[in-house]
Symmetry: C2
Subunit: 119 residues, 2 copies
DNA sequence: ATTTCTTATCGTAAAATTACGATAAATATA
DNA sequence: TATATTTATCGTAATTTTACGATAAGAAAT
């Protein structure tokens, strides 16, 4: 009911520069590729970091995987920590929490109960 | 057979060709732009279709808005129905339901309780 | 029939994404 | 020290996305 409940677009005029909107777009965009979804799923299925070789799991060049990892890192969803000659990748708990809240918020935004399908 | 020979498409939980993974990527990718989030937000805030002029609400050219609407339509999230000289846009209830389930599923995928932040 | 209004599509350009191989940097090991 | 291993980064090419103006298609009004 408060203005914080609906994330900021009230007619007339929509603020495309709203940081929370841009952040939501960044997070969902990061999810918007099968390879990145696969990486996140792999990490989520483990109870510890993944310090193995992603190229043994994904049919892509090492540099390509590294680019996708970079996208996920820059969006705050994973961390990469050097462990000797390897790098261990984990889900970033704070970023994942933010993502979860964002996803729940988006799901709640579309209240199917009042979808009238009027047209 | 080496581990890399059978890798890529049929490891447990990771199948880049999996239609549901591709669908999830398509849906989240559709959300991954501030303008499209704004359009969806605008539609979700109404209990009826929007038959007005999007260019009065969005600081973009008409053709650009039309392109974003096309992306949302092709992803199954909205419908556009001709009403005389205008087109009325609604959330697509089945697509939105699918989206909501997908978002909830993604949020549930990342169980924060076992994020150990080990690295 | 003609004009007006709305919106999709076309054509185009700039920017971003995706993918790869090659290379460099960092670390472990011989 | 020298060598091997791992991963980020560079350079590049192909594709996609994003945005705009111009135009076409369709419907309503004159």
């Amino acid at each position: 009911m408060t203005s914080s409940a609906n994330i900021g677009y009230n007619l007339p005029g929509i603020d495309l520069k709203d940081p929370s909107t841009r952040r939501t777009a960044q997070l969902t965009k990061a999810l918007g590729h099968p390879v990145r979804l696969a990486i996140l799923k792999l990490l989520s299925e483990r109870d510890t970091c993944f310090c193995g070789d992603f190229t043994e799991v994904l049919p892509l060049a090492q540099s390509t995987v590294s680019q996708h990892l970079k996208v996920l890192k820059e969006s705050g969803l994973i961390t990469g920590t050097s462990q000797g000659v390897r790098t261990c990748y984990c889900l970033d708990s704070s970023g994942i929490q933010e993502l979860n809240q964002t996803l729940i918020g988006l799901a709640g935004m579309f209240d199917t109960s009042n979808l009238s399908d009027c047209c």
